[in-house]
Amino acid sequence: MPNYKISDILENPSNTQKLYGYSGKIARINLTTREVSYLDTYQYVPKYVGGRMLIHRIFWDEVPAGTGAFDEGNKFIYMNGPTTGTGIPAGGRSAACAIGPSVLPEQFTFGNIGGWFATELKYAGYDGFIIEGKSEEHVYIKIEDDKIEILPADDLWGMRVHQTQAALEEKHGHDFKSMVIGPAGENLVRIASITTSNDCALAKGGFGAVWGSKGLKAVTVHGTGMVAPADIETLKRLRLTMNNPSMTPSPILHLDRLGVPGGEFEVKYDRGNVACSPGCNQRCNALLMNGVSAFEDEPVNHIEKCVSASTFGYQADIPAPVGMFWPTKQNYCAPCKLLGRDFPAPDFSDPDFEAQGKVILPDTYDLWKPDYERGTIVNDLCNEYGIDKWEIDVWLQTWLGMGKKEHLFDDTDLGTGLEVDVENTDFIRTFIDNMVYRKGKYGDLFAEGMARAIRALGYDKYSETVYHGRHSQMLDGQRLDIPVSLEGGWGQSVHWQGRGYEGSVEKPTWLAACIIRMLSTRDANTVEHFHSEFEHHAEAMADPYHSPNLIRAIINVQNNAEIKDSVMSCEWQSPNPWWPTMEAEMYQAATGYEMTAEELHEAACRSKLLMRAILIRNHGRCRKMEIEQVWRVMSIPDSWGEVADWQQWNEMVDLVYEARGWDLETGWPYRETYEKYGLKDVADEMERLGLLPTRPAERWHDYGEAPYVQFVENCKQEQAV
């Protein structure tokens, strides 16, 4: 039964700390046995806060080593947070995890998602659910308050994303909110997403294929209960202060230019700004209206975020001002304000105004000309089939464009019956169709994701061939070579890593992005964007590998990401460098529990440790494994022609490991590190498994030789010629 009165929450005998904000239970839905049972949320909180922190604990407890992405033992764990449904801005988002099929090699991974689903689930009385087992038949899960049913989905199977959402509303009523997979998930395409309203997607990790492997098409929910924040006055204050909402009208804009500065082109279109989820005080999502549909005659509306901008045209990369990563207090502006075009006027009295506003001019690639209709169709294909746009926009399309110019496809049509041509909408559409439905040799191959497909085709040729069409605007147009495959680590596309997509950033920024990627299992730069105060910029630029404040900032970014995904906020709202207690105030307003910012950071460290323990126990994570994942991308010249130095990079990794309390040689946390954060049971288990390091008598520094990178060798050979 959902909660209907505040007394239902406070008189719950399990709620010994009298916490507001939570619903109190987590559903466990087993698709093999078709049994539903419940976990008590209050056995985990406030220690594990909610969202991703709670997910890490449950995953550690329940999913053993050796579990593969498509195994019956893989679990999809989904959680909202204590702020969800309260009206605290950005609390409408939610977090999820599973062993991710898109990750190479398959590993535990995570994501977060907006939409109305998370709040509706809270109204139904749940802080989250665990989906385990596998169904022999195609099914969907219907949750209506305390009634959870596993229902046949044969009539839904095969439907695209929006068709499925509409069919569920038709069946059960408009009040039901759904998360669904499209044909890509059904066909176990490793980059398949799970999608909910507002075109919000759990796109990273390939969770759509996890659902497909379980025979699960959708989860639909309606709740009639309530959510109670503890402190409504603080909540109201947060609404008016979190990233200074302008509280002004937001009309539909009739525009005639699209694209990022420097890469704009003329096209007439209408744009509105909308929120991704209930309770937000911002309007950062761009609603592009009346676009061309890939499937229907009628025009359609799309939500577009940063990544999909490139699909409209990619001749140059994205320009980024220094202050985007290194803001000053006077000119700090949260990403939600930038994306919603709701930013305040610049403060010219800022003594660092010019320095922080300096724009790094992006590299040029000349891959596809601006074409609004083509871009809209490609994005619609991603939305409707349920696939990760990052893989398509950043990796597949650039690979096709660069590969074509380097003659990789002179003797193949990649199974399309058409000349390989990234600018040809028919070609792209046919290629994606083949992939989603696993048609033919290449369709089946690319359904495994770019990383696996390229390795199957031949890594040295199809990944490491040199593309000669990249030029640096920071070096007066000098050619800078780059491999045709923009892989950034763990089988995911590059992102803010100093080269490739969103690549023109300074060395400290891309070193930080590479560290963050290295320690994750996915493109963490969509959920752990690097930021640090501008006052530390000079120190980081002077010696980026050994800057204490850069190391501190990296740790902060990682911890803040845990907090944001657990208290439940948004990457575009949180953190605010000059309001370090914001998330603690959000948590207190939601729950009434007096958790300080310091305690919240301790909880984040605990959660990061749990994820580290999962990666070590389940996937053999160690220093060598993770360093090799990102070394290739750092061996490619940045926009100034520079690459990473192996010795100094290792010294930087040492500093991060030491700050975390991990062993330098293995990258494994010490017992005292686990125990410091209340994870003695985890330390005991790691010791039993032989995965607990002992401190060496002398400081370890045997870095060995840098890993071989074929692309580097190819460049040397070309230069020799």
């Binding site: 039964m1 009165k5 009639t224 109670a228 002004t248 009208p249 009309p251 539909i252 929120a275 509306n301």
Partner: protein, 183 residues
Amino acid sequence: MGEKTYAAEPRTPEELAGYANHIVQYSPEYSLCTGCETCMILCGLSHEGFTGPGNSRIKVELGTRSMLHRIAACQQCADHPCYEACPKKGEAMKIDEKGIVYIDEDFCIGCGLCAKNCKFQPTRIAMKKDKVHKEWKAVKCDLCRDNPEGPQCVKWCPVRCLGLSEESVFAPDGAKPAELDAE
């Protein structure tokens, strides 16, 4: 019995003459509803101290595909069929000096006749559920008549796409009631 026909929301000054002051959604050309449901959430918080669809006196009809959203609030009909249908009218449902129909929960017996007799679709009267305590209460917009700040949905809307009908007729900056198509 024939199928019930529903009224269209008043738009012109002539149509508005049949309604007391009420919440309106402005045209998207003035301000586009973001779908944030802040109006629903703050309605619940200000009246009940908690949120939830049954606790809101205003509803956002979400456009799942179009992502264009319609606000459904009580239009404060001058002929108030909800009031007329109430078996406890004068006690459970009352009319104030401005023509605003409001509910006194102490006397509401939860029969739902007010909701059924609303002339709009969806009904502008929600039923607040309390299955545990077997109590049902009608929930209806009263323009926050006891709150000196006025309607909280209007106050807290982050994009100012909500207003009052009396002001919208003479609204500044071209604001006018919305003409969104339902999905």
